[in-house]
Structure formats: C-alpha cells, structure tokens
C-alpha cells in the first residue's frame, strides 16, 4: 500500500517551509553511507519499458513500480531472471523472457534517507524512503521516493505524499534509465523505419537495411561478452533480414551490386551458424533428455559435454572475428554504403512508389505460397515442404517490412495463422536439420574413450529415430494448418489489401 515516484535532481535540505499539520512531526534519519548501485534490465529493456526499476545495491535487489517497492536478497545463481532467489522481486518480474540475462545498464553511488511523520506519542503515522542515485558518467542524478502507508493513518500519508511530490520536478519511471545513463541508446530488435506509400522503393530498402545493420552492430558486444544467446540470435536475424531485403526487393538496386552485397552479407553470417546451432542444442538440453529413456542419458551427457566444449571454441573464434580490424572495417564500409541511397546504383524498380511495389511483392509471394501448399499431399517429397517453409518465411518478412503501409489490425489477423503454419514448418525443418547434423556429428567427433563413444552413438541413434518421428508428426500437421490459414476471410483480406489493379 504505497506509491513510488522519481524526482529529478536531489532533494537537498528538504524544502518543507510548511510545518506538518495535525500535531505531527517530520523526522529524518541521518543519511546512510553511500553504496554502489547498478540499474539492472535486460538488453531490450522490458523492465524500463513497463515502468519497473530494478536496482542492485549492497546485498539487496529492489524493484520499484508506481504501486510500490519490493525487495529481496541479491544473492543469485546467475543473471537470468530465473536464477534469482525465490522472493517478491523474482515473482514480480516472472513475465520477463527466460532467455534474456539481466545486465547493468549503468552504475553509480546511492544514498538512502528515511523520513517519517510522528504523532505526539512518537507513533509513526507515515514513512518514506528516498534514494539519491548519482550515476557515473554524463547522466543526471535523480531521487527515488517510496512512500509507505500505515493502515488507519491516511491523513498523515496524504500529507507526506503531498510534500514529497512537490519537492522537485517529476520523471516517469520509464525515463529513469535514459536520465541516469544517457549514453546507451535503447535497443529494439525491430527498428521502426518511417516511410509512406509514396516513398521510393530504393530509399525505403536502403533505410530498412541501414536500420537492421545497426541492430546487428548493437548486438556485437553482447555476443563477445557472452551475456546471453539472444545477442547472437538477434545479430543473425538482423543480417538475415538484410539478405531478405536484398533478394526480395527485386530490381531496386543494380543486379551486379545486389549480387555483391548478398555475398558480403552471406560471408558475415557464415561463421555464426554453427555457434547458433550449438546454442539451440544446449538451450533445449532438457527437451532432449526427455525424449530418451534414462538408460540412454549417460550417452547424452557425454554428447552435451562435447557440444559445450565445441561451443566454447566456436564462441572464442567468433569473438576474435568480431573484434578483428577487417571485420570492423567491413561493417563500417557496409554502413557507409547504406547511409545514402544515392550512392547505390539503381535498378529498374528503384523509383517505384513503395506502396505499389509492396503490394505487388506480397501478392505474388502469397499466390506462390498457396500454389505450393495446395499441391501438398501424403506423397509430396520433403523438399517441397521446405519450399513451402521458405516461401512462408519470405511472405512473413515482406509483410513485416511493409507493415507501416497497411492497417495494423488486418495485418495482425493475417500474420497470426501464417505464424502458426510457420511454427509447424519451422519444427519440421529443425527436426530434419538436426537429424542430419547429429548424424554428421557422430562421424566427426570422438570422446576420450571407446566406451563413451559407444554410449554417445547409441544415444544419438535413438535421438535421430525420435526426431524422425517428430518430423513426421509435424509434417502431418502442415496440411491442416495451411487449411486454417487458407480461409475465405484470409483470402478476401489478402485480395483487398494487396491485389491492386495496377499490379494485377
């Protein structure tokens, strides 16, 4: 039962000219000694975005929201939200994605001060705790205020709250991180690129690529520091999107230039694939153990030990590469290329208005997807299913890239069943890729002794068999999920939004 807010600056000598009313006395405990603090959030700042402030100071984690303050021990097994000790803070941030690690957005010194309103019996009627945060760096100091209501003393609480609220200019909790640590820009894996239907296709493509290139670069440090696996994932998704734009936005650039750029981005992604595969294996460790009976677990243990060791080597190699001069120079070169659309040699579609261009691309891709999907039956070879997946992915990317041009609600209605279809196709593909990659693994890797090798081979054999079953199950779902996607309403919306007379 309390509230929290942020005052900008520090509440110096408590500017209460007015004496407390109703026979109450304001007392303040002497300021505590300054301690180090760190402002914690995940890289994409879900806490900041939702108005939650998580501070580690001393041995305590404190979470402040508009509704009050929670605290618990800072002792923890790791930095993922699920690593926190059980407690109110952990419960209150249980909505955070479990793959993202907490990290310090910034550090500084913190001074706590306690205030109370007492009556003539020296009974506390209302309390407040103030924390002055003095950031390291160029940021501005702020004061966090947490009021505590005592049941039955509402008048005193209101009095204290009124005074503290008036003690300085307010900052929303969502602005705290940017005020304390202005140096680090907020991160979003899905950058907002402003354009309209009248923008030229080439300048839109260029702006989208520049934005995704920037996203990739923002993730480099996190990959090197190995904070969590999402950095590499986001890095790869951003680069993959750049490649999609290069191949899907047909004719915006000169064909020779397009080929050269595609190669450059393909070269950037190539050294990241194995590390991502290993990340996925290691993250899904529990899933694999559930697939096999206990008897085959020792082999899996040995296999996962090999995975972990290989991941270390892959990460070391990739980190070296990301820190290298040639890599840095290549990224700077590419950023310069996309900094100015005029510097890119035009293709035939360069000056088309992006609205018509987008509708044409989406409509064509949608028709192609439907054509493949409607042919699928029990006899269809696997590579046709892969084609369906690839076309579904391309359609989804196109719809995401051009989302600002179309009504959000209708787009969401189209994307939802498409995503469901894609999920099934994605699992189908993962199971298929994993079978061949595991089979290859057993041929190229050897444990320390023959006994371990044998155990690994047995477990791998079983795993491949189970994955094959799973793949068949997913495959059986493809047709029904496509039928869900291929509803009359969806067809009608696709036609209405994207089948323009001009592109017919």
């Amino acid at each position: 039962m309390a509230e929290c807010f942020v005052l900008s600056g520090s509440v110096g000598d408590l500017p209460w000219a007015e004496a407390p009313a109703g026979g109450l006395r304001l007392v303040s405990a002497p300021e505590a000694e300054a301690v180090d603090f760190a402002l914690l959030d995940c890289f994409d700042r879900p806490l900041t975005g939702s108005g939650r402030v998580l501070i580690e100071a001393g041995a305590e984690l404190t979470l402040l929201t508009d509704a009050g303050r929670l605290a618990q021990t800072a002792a923890r097994a790791g930095n993922f939200p699920g690593d926190l000790a059980p407690g109110p803070v952990r419960t209150a941030i249980a909505d955070l994605p479990f793959l993202r690690s907490l990290l310090a957005l910034g550090r500084g010194r913190m001074v706590e001060q306690r205030l109370a309103l007492l009556d003539d019996q020296d009974k506390t009627q209302a309390r407040a705790r103030l924390w002055r945060l003095e950031p390291k760096g160029r940021g501005v100091a702020v004061t966090l205020v947490a009021l505590q209501r005592l049941r039955g003393y509402d008048a005193a609480y209101d009095q204290l709250a009124r005074r503290l609220r008036g003690a300085g200019p307010h900052l929303p909790l969502t602005a705290l991180a940017a005020t304390l640590f202005p140096g680090c820009p907020p991160y979003s894996a899905k950058p907002v690129v402003p354009f309209t239907a009248d923008s030229a296709a080439r300048s839109t493509a260029t702006a989208l690529i520049a934005a995704h290139l920037a996203v990739a670069r923002q993730n480099e440090a996190g990959v090197i520091a190995d904070i969590d696996t999402e950095f590499l994932h986001d890095y790869r998704v951003a680069l993959r999107k750049v490649r999609s734009i290069l191949s899907l936005f047909k004719g915006v650039y000169d064909p020779a230039l397009t080929d050269e750029l595609k190669r450059a981005f393909s070269d950037l992604m190539a050294p990241t694939g194995r590390l991502r595969d290993l990340d996925v294996y290691l993250l899904d460790r529990a899933f694999y153990f559930e697939l096999l009976p206990d008897r085959l677990h020792p082999g899996l243990e040995a296999l996962f030990a090999l995975f972990a060791a290989e991941r270390e080597r892959q990460l070391a190699g990739l980190s070296r590469r990301l820190r290298s001069k040639p890599y840095g120079a290549e990224m700077v070169r590419l950023q310069a290329v996309f900094a100015d659309p005029e510097r890119l040699v035009s293709g035939p579609a360069a000056d088309l208005p992006v609205g018509d261009f987008a509708r044409g691309l989406i409509w064509k891709r949608y028709r192609k997807l439907c054509r493949i999907a409607r042919e699928i039956g029990p006899e269809t070879p696997d590579h046709e299913i892969h084609m369906l997946r690839i076309n579904g992915k391309k359609l989804r990317y196109l719809m995401e890239f051009f989302a600002p041009l179309f009504p959000g609600k209708q787009m969401a209605k189209l994307i939802k069943p498409l995503k469901r279809l894609q999920d099934t196709l994605g699992r189908f593909n993962d199971y298929s890729v994993q079978q061949s990659s595991l089979a290859q693994f057993v041929e190229t890797h050897h444990a320390a002794d023959r006994v371990a090798d044998l155990a690994i081979a047995q477990s791998l054999g079983a795993l491949i068999a189970v994955l094959h079953q799973r793949q068949l199950e997913e495959r059986a779902r493809v047709q029904s999920h496509f039928a869900d996607f291929d509803s009359p309403a969806t067809r009608e919306t696709f036609r209405k939004l994207f089948h323009h007379e001009a592109t017919a």
Binding site: M1, D119, Q121, D122, K123, T124, R149, L150, R151, G152, Y153
Partner: protein
C-alpha cells in the same frame, strides 16, 4: 488464517506482554498479523503507541464492516496491524465467528483492503466468562502464561477443570512458564513438577523475569526492538517458533 488467544484467568502474569511480543515475532517472521486488544485493562495498543479508537465504543459498529476496518491501525512494524478496541461482548462474538468464516463479509472486506491476515493474536481479558468460552471455541490455540508458583498452579488447574466441565478441547491449551526466576528453588521445583504432571502441555521455551520486559512500558515497543539480542528478546522469538510449530 489461525487465531492465537493469549489468555490467563489470573492477572499480572505477563499476558499482554506475551500477546505483544508474540504478535511482533510472528510479523517479523513474515506472517501478516492482526493483534486485537480485547482486554479493557490491557495495554496492547499502549505498547504500540496507538491511541484507542473512539469509533469502536459505538455499540453497533459491527453492522458496518467498513467502520471495523477503519479502526485497524498499522503499527510501526511491517506486517503487524493492531485493532485497539475494547469491544463489547456482542461485537466480539460476531467478530470471532466472522473471522472463522472465510466467506463472511468481514473476511472479504479485509481481503479487499489487502489486510488478509495469516494470524490473529487476541489479548483476552483475565477472567472466565461467556466471552472466554467463545474464545476457547474459536481460537486454534490458547497460549497461557503460568508463573511457576503454587498459586498460579492452582489457577491453571482451574482452567483445565473449566475445559473438562464444558467439554472443550484441552489440546488447544499451550502453557508456558512466565516471569521465571531461575535462581528460585520454588520456581525450579514447580516447573519440574508441572512438566511431569502435564506432559506435552508446557512449551520448553521459558520467559524469564526480566527488567527488559518491564521496560516495555518506558519504550512503548516490543522487547525485541530494544533488547533483541538479550535473553528476554530471544525468549519470545523461541516461544513463537514453538507456538507456530503447533498451529
């Protein structure tokens, strides 16, 4: 929600000190506690510096649940609220039955204002009456301080007899030795005899006769807040642990 009554049919045995310090220890362990001051001569509210509420002298206050809730006061300690009331018998009777009934308006109203208590501690008046009979029925445990003297021994026997006569559950009674002076042979002998006579009825925690407990009146605060590391402060913590284990 559990109801713990602090009761003695003899005055001056440290009953109010028990209620205040047990409630404080329970709250400090993280439970949400409401301490109800039911003893017109008691001073639970005094020890928490809480002024008695005028509103509660109104006969019909229980007709309006909101007015009851408005009478609850937050203490200076986390998780610990106090109802500084001298309730009338009728009100108290209604209070007990409604606290036991999870679906009553009172319970719902408490929940609505985020005052969903885990433990209710009652500081009961020191006599055997119709009121105390209701307390004995409603409470989950009745904590009885007993000074290890011959006179106190007799009062405790009377209480047991009362339970027998009224077919009350004697196992609800938890006795402990209060105001114990370890150097007095009489105290030692009485304690040994009673422990043997009423095996299992007496807790092993013992509250010593202590100036720290007397000083509660000066400090107007639970012992643990000003003498937490001393014998008396520790003793109430141990007492609460034992009571909790029996809830």
């Amino acid at each position: 929600m559990k109801i713990v009554a602090c009761y003695s049919n003899k005055g001056g045995v440290g009953k109010t000190a028990t209620a205040v310090n047990l409630a404080h220890a329970a709250a400090a362990s993280g439970l949400r506690v409401l301490l109800c001051d039911l003893d017109p001569q008691g001073a639970s509210g005094f020890y928490f510096r809480i002024k008695p509420s005028k509103k509660l002298k109104d006969e019909s206050f229980f007709k309006d649940v909101k007015r009851f809730i408005d009478a609850i006061r937050g203490s200076d300690f986390d998780n610990l609220d106090v109802l500084p009331a001298n309730m009338t018998f009728r009100d108290f009777d209604i209070f007990l039955s409604r606290m036991k009934n999870g679906r009553s308006r009172l319970k719902k109203a408490l929940k609505a204002v985020n005052a969903d208590y885990d433990v209710i501690v009652l500081d009961c008046p020191p006599n055997i009456s119709a009121l105390s009979e209701n307390v004995f029925k409603a409470a989950d445990r009745i904590v009885v301080p007993v000074i290890p003297t011959t006179l106190s021994e007799r009062t405790f026997e009377q209480l047991l007899q009362f339970f027998a006569d009224h077919r009350l559950n004697r196992r609800k009674l938890i006795a402990f030795f209060s105001m114990v002076q370890a150097r007095k042979t009489l105290h030692q002998d009485t304690m040994a005899r009673l422990r043997q006579l009423y095996a299992g009825q007496f807790l092993s925690a013992v509250i010593p006769f202590s100036t720290d407990i007397e000083k509660m009146g000066q400090h107007r605060a639970p012992v643990a807040t000003f003498a937490g590391s001393r014998q008396a402060g520790q003793a109430y913590g141990a007492l609460w642990q034992e009571v909790r284990a029996r809830l």
